[in-house]
């Protein structure tokens, strides 16, 4: 029974929950021709270090180790406090090339109906912080 419960919880946690932070729909021009959908998706590994320290606190064998893990957790939580979207990432420039990628998919450059979506795949303390740009290429 305990094993079954563990498998159930693991499946739930490892199934990766989707998170949606921001949606923006742009102008859509359907007067110039057929529209072909194009999409660009970039992601970066996000990590919540304080959550790892919290796990360490729960799994520590001695009270001294638990106390140290708690201090580390508090320190990490303080370092990362403040307004933010999703987990911190180590490369803040990961979404800067999306325009080039869009043009690569639509060489004519006639792009309309741009949707900017900021989302994530969250696996408890780690996540894939995603920027997705969907659009239409005018044929």
């Amino acid at each position: 029974m305990y094993k079954l419960l563990l498998i159930g919880v693991s499946a739930l946690l490892l199934g990766a929950c989707a998170r949606l932070d921001h949606v923006q729909i742009g102008d859509l021009d359907q007067t110039q021709g057929n529209l072909q959908p194009i999409s660009v998706k970039v992601s970066q590994f996000g990590i919540e270090l304080a959550a790892f320290a919290e796990v360490g606190r729960h799994t520590a064998s001695s009270s001294a180790a638990r106390s140290q893990s708690q201090q580390v957790r508090d320190l990490l939580a303080l370092m990362n406090m403040g307004p933010r979207t999703g987990n911190p990432v180590y490369n803040e420039t990961y979404a800067e090339k999306v325009l080039e990628d869009l043009y690569r998919q639509c060489p004519s450059g006639n792009i309309t109906g741009i949707r900017s979506i900021r989302e994530a795949r969250a696996y408890t303390a780690v996540s894939g912080e995603i920027v997705r740009i969907d659009a239409f290429c005018v044929q």
Partner: protein, 100 residues
């Protein structure tokens, strides 16, 4: 008395609280006579969701309503309504469709 409390709890929990997650707007056209709108949503339990595909539905609706036209001044609202253990995520979009 117990029934009254139950009704009060139901009213509080089922009425829902709304979080406005994001909002955006594009340039508004001079001709604003034909306003169209679209709403797409999904429900989840305890925040467990596995995709954000419902957003595409709003775009399809807008595209359908403005066939052969130009959609401008698009106002996009992304909100989450919280009920008891259940969440409703919504994308509400509206804009001005001008046929050329």
């Amino acid at each position: 008395m117990l029934r009254l409390i139950a009704v009060a709890i139901c009213l509080v929990t089922l009425s829902g609280c709304v979080n406005l997650n994001s909002m955006s707007m594009t340039q508004v056209p001079e001709n604003r006579s034909n306003l169209i709108s679209a709403t797409a949503s999904d429900w989840n339990f305890l925040g467990f969701v596995f995709d954000n595909d419902f957003v595409d539905e709003a775009v399809s609706q807008l595209k359908q309503q403005c066939q052969g036209g130009k959609l401008q001044g698009v106002l996009t609202k992304h909100q989450t309504t919280t009920y008891f253990l259940v969440f409703k995520r919504e994308v509400i979009a509206s804009g001005y469709c001008n046929k050329v």
